[in-house]
Assembly symmetry: C2
């Protein structure tokens, strides 16, 4: 599967909110996931497909999604980038917010081997 | 000029640290530039090529660059994305730091019409 195939497949599933399906279909076993911020319970960098499935499940259970726009993918030989515009209410705060993030994905051996998330300030 | 031509040209100039040349060569007159963070003197969103030239000049004069890596571009129909790893000392603080950012560029009529910068936490 080409980088473009993986990129388009991931974007298609994300547009439907099927993040966990995207993980199951396109992520490698040794996936490394890097968030912009971390804390003691949820470190910024996690690795292994089970940990990433757990993070996705935690996110889905703890956020109410009002709106989601997905732009891209922009594709290269080594990977691809996708932009997410999210309108969500984290259950922890109850405060509805918009956030924009770019996912920077690295592909190796036909699977996503690394994802990195980059943020802009909320509301922009 | 295609989106890929612009993307590769910008990356080539950025790798040489020639950010202002990239602005002069590839940016449209009405360019909109969106940083992740702003303040009173330097708002997050600025527009117009003169303002963006001024921002680039300010940045060059106020940062000592020890190292710069540029990854990408990842390219699509509407634009492209580039990742920058920077090792810099802001003159204001004197504290050397690493930062990683992704630039998300929109192309219209053969020129870059919008740039948005997304950040990961320093040191990652």
């Amino acid at each position: 599967m080409s980088v473009a195939d993986i990129a388009n497949g991931l974007v298609s599933l994300c547009k439907q909110g099927k993040f966990l399906d995207a993980v199951n279909q396109y992520y490698g076993e040794s996936i490394v996931s890097v968030e912009a911020f971390g804390n003691e319970k949820m470190p910024a960098e996690m690795s292994g497909i089970d940990a990433i499935r757990g993070k996705n499940q935690w996110w889905a259970e703890n956020h109410e999604v009002h709106g989601l726009e997905v732009a891209g993918p922009y594709v290269g030989d080594a990977g691809f980038a996708v932009k997410f515009n999210l309108d969500v209410t984290p259950k922890m705060t109850g405060q509805r917010m918009t956030m924009v993030e770019v996912g920077w994905y690295t592909v190796a051996d036909g699977k996503i081997s690394r994802e990195e998330f980059y943020y802009n300030a909320p509301g922009q």
